[in-house]
């Protein structure tokens, strides 16, 4: 293998030039590779979550917003679904029906009010602690617990909606009872509470704290937040009709296609509520992402083409710089064919090293960066 030996020796003794070539080609390979892998992973992950939640019911408006809200608790809903609508759906016995209330945040993470069947629905397990028992309890997603350094027994304040609205809702001190096992989904970045707790944060439910007036506000502004304890937990209640309590979405997994079709038909002409097939909506969204990917692919093709041209130029210039060396090889009896083979081997080594680097970097990106990026998608 004289060609490999000489090619390797040349590259080894010109580390600067070799490194620049390998890095350049690595980038040309890495960008389209990681782009494809990430989008594929994104597609697979959001597809799986959408498939496990076939129907999302919520207020009329943007279809994308509703599905993203129902599945990932991210987009904000303008409008509510009355709790009575949820009760009506439950009584139909058409499958699993999960209420979602997601209007508030804590340390920037969404606070989601739901029922215990959500955890069964998503197959979420508790890693540490025990399930929430009373109003004011919460269960943290794994990422929230890690990022905020919290564990069961600690407390967490909800974020105030408007810092200057002194008459508005007070932050609620949440008691952390459990940390969920990591799932690689949006649930990892969510603070789960009961629906009643969510309604307390919203000010629909209230308790009677000695230091607070009947409306849950302090006339002397002594208390900066609400706190639910075992002593006052039973005092929390609402004077409004529970059928009107707000939800932001209802997730449904119908027991049959027929049930799904009937449900979709029921909401077809509803004046304020819409029922959406989340896989269809997510496919539409994914279609947009894929179009962006196609654009990036075209862009990367140009980059790769430019890199190829640059490499060809390097080879051509290197041959000129190495005229004397190649002439020496000729004088020593080396065939022209072998001289070309040496240079082709050099390029092959560079391409091989670049491919290994590109695949390695792509793997690392998918392993580490993707887990961060895809939490939202899951």
């Amino acid at each position: 293998m004289p060609s490999f030996f000489l090619a390797w020796r040349y590259l080894w003794t010109h580390p600067g030039q070799s490194t620049v070539m390998v890095l350049g080609v690595t980038i040309a390979f890495y960008l389209p590779l990681v782009n494809h892998q990430l989008v594929d992973e994104f597609d697979r992950t959001i597809g799986a979550r959408a498939a496990s939640t076939p129907l999302v019911i919520g207020p009329k408006g943007s279809r994308f917003d509703l599905v993203l809200h129902g599945l990932y608790f991210r987009a904000r809903n303008n409008g509510n679904v009355p709790y009575g609508e949820y009760n009506k759906l439950k009584q139909l016995e058409i499958g699993e029906v999960i209420p979602v209330h997601s209007k508030f945040t804590s340390q920037g993470y969404p606070v989601v009010g739901t029922r215990k069947n959500y955890f069964h629905f998503r197959n979420r397990k508790i890693r540490q602690g025990k399930a929430m028992q009373i109003h004011g309890d919460c269960e943290l997603g794994a990422t929230v617990a890690t990022k905020l350094g919290l564990r069961p027994g600690d407390t967490l304040l909800t974020d105030r909606e408007n810092l200057f609205d002194l008459a508005g809702e007070y932050p609620l001190k949440l008691n952390i009872t459990a940390v969920l096992a990591p799932s690689g989904t949006a649930d990892d970045t969510t603070v789960f509470v009961s629906l009643e707790t969510a309604w307390i944060i919203e000010g629909i439910w209230h308790g009677h704290d000695p230091s607070l007036d009947h409306n849950g506000t302090s006339p002397k502004l002594i208390k900066k937040h609400l706190e639910i304890t075992e002593e006052n937990a039973d005092s929390f209640h609402s004077h409004e009709d529970s059928e009107t309590f707000p939800l932001t979405a209802v997730l449904i997994r119908p027991e049959s296609k027929k049930a799904q079709a009937l449900l979709l038909a029921d909401y077809e002409d509803h004046p304020s509520i819409q029922a959406l097939k989340s896989p269809v909506v997510m496919d539409e969204l994914m279609g947009m992402i894929l179009r962006i990917r196609d654009f990036l692919d075209a862009h990367h093709s140009l980059v790769t083409l430019a890199m190829g041209a640059l490499l060809a130029l390097i080879v051509a210039l290197t041959r000129r710089l190495r005229t004397r060396e190649l002439e020496t090889l000729t004088l020593l009896g080396c065939r022209k064919g072998l001289q070309w083979t040496i240079q082709i081997t050099e390029m092959t080594i560079v391409l091989g090293a670049a491919l290994i680097c590109a695949f390695g970097l792509t793997y690392l990106t998918i392993q580490f960066a993707a887990s961060y990026l895809l939490v939202m998608a899951g």
């Binding site: 004289p2 003794t13 060396e325 080396c334």
Partner: protein
């Protein structure tokens, strides 16, 4: 190898230079020095003898080989098998160390087998050339004298039958010149090789059996040196 040139003419395309050799004979195993001013054609004649360049006309016979009748591939094979060329400017490969440079002919030619015997000979030759400590050194760390000796080592390792040396003592001090000449003569004698050496050093000429003065050669235009 006996060498004979007959009516050889060579010219570079766009230059005034013209080499004309009506007749020249060098006996097998002889030691010949080429002397003369720069540009008189000494190196050109070495390249013609090595089959690196071809004359426009005339015949060059080396041993049983008639160079003008050989194809390019056969001339290359002839050069690999029989010629050891010491270049004036060393022509060592900068990204190889000394021993890799010495072995280079074996690396790039399938006709030469890199055997254990060759490696043993390499070590012995390095010892003779006082390069043992430099075998793993890179080319850019060598002195001029060491570069010269490495270039000689590369030419001698395949035990050529015709040693063509273009000013191999040009960068050496007097004691090293003498040692290198001894080495070249000894290797030529051991392999019954013909030695042709270009030199500007007239003090060395008395060691050669035959001296070809290119200045005189050109004056006479067509006489044998």
């Amino acid at each position: 190898m006996d060498i004979s040139l007959n009516q050889v003419e060579f010219a570079y395309g766009d230059e005034d230079f013209r080499l004309q050799i009506p007749e020249l004979k060098l006996a097998a195993g002889s030691h010949t020095a080429f002397v003369g001013p720069s540009g008189s054609g000494k190196t050109t004649l070495l390249r013609l003898l090595a089959g690196i360049t071809q004359p426009q006309s005339g015949a060059i016979q080396i041993g049983d080989y008639s160079l003008q009748s050989l194809s390019d591939a056969n001339r290359r094979a002839f050069r690999i098998k029989h010629i050891g060329f010491v270049f004036q400017d060393f022509r060592l490969i900068e990204y190889l160390n000394v021993q890799e440079n010495l072995r280079l002919s074996y690396r790039v030619n399938e006709a030469l087998n890199l055997t254990t015997e060759v490696n043993t000979r390499l070590k012995s030759l390095a010892n003779e050339l006082q390069l043992t400590d430099k075998l793993d050194a890179t080319i850019d760390t060598l002195s001029q004298g060491e570069l010269q000796r490495a270039a000689i080592g590369r030419a001698l390792l395949p035990k050529p039958k015709l040693i063509l040396a273009d000013e191999p003592t040009g960068n050496l001090d007097p004691s090293n010149k003498s040692r290198i000449l001894d080495l070249l003569f000894a290797h030529a004698a051991a392999n019954h090789a013909t030695l042709v050496m270009v030199t500007h050093d007239h003090a060395l000429l008395n060691r050669f059996e035959q001296v070809v003065d290119f200045e005189e050669f050109h004056k006479k235009e067509s006489t044998n040196a």
